[in-house]
Subunit: 340 residues, 2 copies
DNA sequence: CAATCTTGCTTCATCGATTGAGCAACGGTG
DNA sequence: CACCGTTGCTCAATCGATGAAGCAAGATTG
């Protein structure tokens, strides 16, 4: 018979009838504990064969309703438009599957309302753990998780009510700033302060990176110009706007720059190309994030790669153990050994 | 405090008891059809308030078990490591949510076994539609979808058993090849054939792009060297290997290249940088895919952007209508007007 | 040969939300 | 006052899978 339309779903009752047995035997066979339930091998094989013939797939909704654990782990992520978050999601899925967990992921477009909405939806699906990645208000998410009986974790940006796994932003920014200052010195002959571009002044990561940025300048005895800290937001257009505004008030911009993410870097490079401000004397950039094409094509760009593998190891350590031993885990980012 | 343990989940029975009413009234109020069920506004408000106080979240497993439609749409995608798939996933989520559907996405790492496994898992979760993006064997996925009562669609790579939405690879490749040939001519003074790098000879998209590549050469009266069609796979290392092998047998490589994806481009650029083959005379590249940093930094690289928005419009047109009017939809890719 | 154990199943209650059917109370009508 | 319609709820069956409890038949023991 030719089935154009999808057929009706097969249930264990259908299989039971076909096999001349009970639904409970079918269930026991198909979820693997038929030995414990003392089903004969003969019947088990018969049921398995019929299930395959019928293309049977268990109804997880029914199954999960009955079981006590859902084995579903959720993750919310701001965007899929850069390698950092892409890599986080990919690694999360792989590590979840290794453990027999079912990962569900959703992106929230950096919209705080959508974050909460997405969290609520995931809770409806009975996630056991919800990982908030780069969330604007992780504590509110933790609140609703606790109320709904789920565990929560923060990744990339910390919160105060759930364990947080983040990059070591201070140390990373300090090292990156030092390297960029040196790269810049090698290029222009003298040591001079950098421009800081991107990120939100209100978020923990940006604050820590600014602190590392300042410290690196201190280390080398250079003073930072307060007007040169442009925490204008992450979007490329924000960086373009901030650079243009600064160029409008100051004659020349610093040659060296610390850029807070690849997203902001996109804007920075767009502006550099469009404004012709740096024509002939390309800026020396350090970027707190990694992208393969920038690494290959960007001649004067030093990048730090956040240790996604290490961070997710920590996440799953907590999930595996069922609890965290520390409220904040800072994972050092990775520098390529080669410089500039 | 970090170590709070999640509370027990609240059910409509708990709420009913708190409100001094029945579970069925609670259900009616919370899923919005309390007017139809003639619940008084007074009771509706009371129930709503209590539900909010308790942080109640409906149990989707139970809800979906009872309803006939799940409103879940699934998508499988090979990787999250490039802008094309990232953009597909992001757009898919947005468009699904606009329609009140719940999107679930999983990546299959280009592993055919994992594709099937992921499809089966999604079917267990009662997806109504399953979109196979860039799948190696989309027809097998369609088979198991039909057996499980779900609809299926193919995106990016076509299949023969379900409607397919793909880029117009032939026309796109033809145009891109022509542009690259011209860019190359402008650079080196004479018209000469390009090298084709990346993709699998067995997949539809690569075959069509090779056809467009050949046609563009024909159009300009140039003959293609068969040894210069390197359909070596998508992974960067494959491109590196293929270029090295070719460079080992031939003295000089063509100056112009057609690269089949940003993934392959990564390998191509790695080899170019490492081998020093093109030092001083950078290759002129056309890439069938788009990346913002390549667009900004790659001076001699022309890119085509696949029309993700248009493709997903087509996908959701089919989902909205419940059926497709055509088995294959080819969406023209987008060229930036500016050349070179 | 009765008593007990083992094997191989079946029966039935359950998870939480949904919804058709039904029922009590009240107001309006003739 | 009998009858009917409306309002505002409750009852109970149901979705599909699960697993504790139970039961019948055969095997083993004393």
């Amino acid at each position: 018979m030719i089935q154009q339309k999808p057929t009706k779903k097969t249930t264990i009752y259908d299989l039971a009838e076909l096999a001349g047995t009970s639904a409970s035997a079918v269930s026991a066979v198909l979820n693997g504990n038929w030995k414990k339930r003392r089903i004969s091998i003969k019947l088990a094989e018969k049921i398995t064969r019929i299930a395959e013939e019928q293309g049977y797939a268990v109804n997880m909704q029914a199954s999960l309703l009955r079981r006590e654990k859902s084995k579903i782990v959720g993750m919310i992520v701001p965007k899929y438009d850069n390698r950092y978050f892409g890599s986080i999601v990919e690694t999360f899925e792989i590590m979840a599957r290794e453990r027999g967990l079912f990962p569900i992921i959703t992106c929230t477009l950096r919209d705080p309302e959508l974050e909460l909405e997405a969290a609520r939806t995931m809770l409806s699906y009975q996630v056991e753990w919800l990982i908030s990645t780069g969330a604007t208000d992780p504590d509110r998410i933790t609140d609703i998780c606790l109320a709904a009986g789920a565990h929560s974790l923060n990744l990339d940006l910390p919160g105060s009510k759930a364990p947080s796994i983040i990059s070591d932003n201070f140390a990373g920014a300090r090292e990156l700033t030092q390297r960029t200052l040196r790269n810049c010195q090698r290029e222009i002959g003298s040591l001079s302060p950098l421009l800081f571009v991107g990120g939100r002044a209100s978020d923990h990561n940006t604050a820590e990176r600014v602190r590392g940025f300042r410290r690196a300048h201190e280390d080398l005895g250079i003073s930072v110009d307060e007007n040169h800290i442009l925490t204008c937001g992450y979007a490329p257009e924000k960086a373009v706007g901030a650079l243009q505004a600064l160029a409008d008030t100051e004659h020349t911009l610093p040659r060296g720059m610390f850029v807070n993410s690849t997203i902001s870097l996109e804007g920075v490079m767009r502006w550099i190309k469009a404004s012709h401000h740096f024509d002939g004397k390309p800026p020396i950039i350090g970027c707190f994030d990694w992208d393969p094409f920038v690494a290959l094509l960007g001649d004067n760009i030093e990048m730090v790669r956040q240790d996604v593998g290490g961070m997710l190891q920590s996440v799953f350590k907590i999930i595996d153990d069922g609890h965290a031993t520390s409220p904040l885990i800072e994972v050092p980012p990775i520098f390529d050994t080669k410089i500039g």
